[in-house]
């Protein structure tokens, strides 16, 4: 039936219910959000750009935005560094082990994010498991500060979002013709060279998809950011939440949400461009 879409030409109507739903409950709320960002106050006495001016004219708030965007970048990078080898390895395992590994990879995304973050509090403390382990093997003589630091937040985000990185990379790697890397090595290229010159370029679409998903998830990860970050590391989600519910300043919170969305979309767009350019260069 779907196959006849081109012939029948009426299949597109099946997308109408979801399109209507999205208009009503996705586009409309976002539209309302944008409208509120131009309010001068909750009572709406005038439309103004004052909320944006307040946000963009303040180094404190701009700093929060910058920290949030770079936090996402760092966590995505860590995710990639550990996730890529995992995906690469998974595809070379016998099917049974491969299923087990995929199972392990998706386990965290399916166990409550609050629960996972909670476990990390126990692990990251100065008397926590990680510090105990580091001290036991003699790497540190006094406990490292991990809880309430950016390093801690990056570690936890990378763990929490790992599946979003590994699965798309596995999907593209699985489609890469294994003969290509065989050919490469038989032509005398070493393991590293084959990896960088053949495997990586061919898997770029998956890498870009993974990075986009991980990035979008990391920047908006409210619970992880607040529970692991503490009071001295403020990121956009917490600040928006504070302004929206604590300070009851909806217009300002709306303006911040809009700026935040645009910034994240811009990064996603850039990642897409990078992916496309890289693909073009290798093609």
């Amino acid at each position: 039936m779907a196959a006849r879409a081109a012939a029948g030409g009426r299949e597109w109507r099946l997308a109408l219910p979801l399109a209507a739903f999205f208009l009503a409950f996705f586009v409309a709320p976002l539209g309302v959000l944008v409208a509120w960002s131009f309010y001068d106050s909750a009572e709406l006495r005038a439309l103004t750009l004052a909320q944006y001016a307040r946000f963009l004219g303040d180094r404190f708030t701009l700093g929060i935005l910058w920290d949030t965007l770079t936090l996402g970048a760092k966590a995505t990078l860590v995710c990639l560094v550990f996730g890529y080898p995992l995906a690469w390895l998974a595809l070379r395992l016998p099917p049974r082990w491969q299923a087990a590994l995929v199972f392990l990879v998706i386990l965290p995304i399916l166990t409550s994010v609050v629960v996972r973050t909670f476990a990390w509090i126990v692990m990251l403390g100065s008397q926590g498991v990680i510090n105990q382990a580091l001290a036991a093997i003699g790497l540190v003589d006094r406990p490292l500060r991990l809880l309430y630091t950016e390093v801690g937040v990056v570690m936890v985000l990378a763990q929490v979002q790992m599946p979003l990185m590994v699965l798309p990379i596995m999907a593209t790697l699985a489609r890469v013709d294994p003969n290509l890397s065989d050919a490469s090595s038989s032509l005398g290229a070493g393991a590293w060279r084959t990896f960088w010159k053949v495997t990586v370029p061919l898997s770029l679409p998956g890498v870009v998809a993974g990075c986009i998903l991980v990035y979008a998830a990391c920047v908006t990860a409210f619970v992880t950011q607040t529970l692991i970050g503490g009071a001295r590391l403020i990121y956009m989600p917490l600040y928006i939440y504070q302004q929206a519910t604590g300070a009851n300043n909806w217009p300002f919170a709306a303006a911040m949400s809009v700026v935040f969305m645009i910034a994240v979309l811009a990064v996603v767009y850039l990642l897409n461009l990078v992916g496309r350019a890289a693909r073009g260069a290798y093609a």
Partner: protein
Amino acid sequence: MRRRRDYEALSFGVAIGVLSAVAIAFLIAPTLILLLTSFTDSESLKFPPSGYSFRWYAALLEADQLLATAWNSLVVACWTTVASVVLGVTAALGIGRSRSPWAKAADALFMSPLLLPALAFGFGALIFFNMIGLVQSIAGLTLGHVVVCVPFVLRNSIAALSQLDPAMLEASESLGASRFYTFRRVTLPLIAPGVGAGAFIAFMSSFDNIPVSLFVADARTQMLPIYLWEIIETNLDVRTAAASGVIVVATLVLMILAERFAGLTKQLR
């Protein structure tokens, strides 16, 4: 030359091995530690626990508020999954195979909740529901959740549809079967595992949703993740560890079932 290549192969293997090992350890550790900690016999959360007992699991049975929020979350997750499957699968049939720019645009729109910061949408939903009077309701929460969960069903359904052999469908229709009959008897059974995997992810991500519930839920419609976050934030109560233990085990059981019946790991790759 030979030596160099051996060395290269070795260093490559070691690098992949070490990075993967660290990644695997980090993926498993929190879940394991949490399970162990939840069996502590003391009043505070420390690892390793000083002794082991089931007391916090027993305490869960009396935590009626926790159970009530878990029920709320379950109800919302079920409705969200049903609505996501109905809307997602129909839309997938509509745009899955089309190459028209309209279908591309619709696809981008439907997937965009995964790319936008969900928290911004949650706040928008709060303002919007306030306007149309849908606050403090399970219906409002469900509508919000469907928006962020439908992309999972859509993505997996489109992937499953793209693997269908068109010849099979044509055969069915050339034999005089109606379109709907073909859908019910041929298409649906073939894409069911893919749809199932998508539905499973949608269910889990609704059950675990924070960004939307954070704004749309309130004291009268409390959701489990928000309530857990609240008690972790305020008390670091050991009961939360036990509640987490139950969630982890329930998820594991669900995942194993999904793996048995829908080949979850195969569908997600």
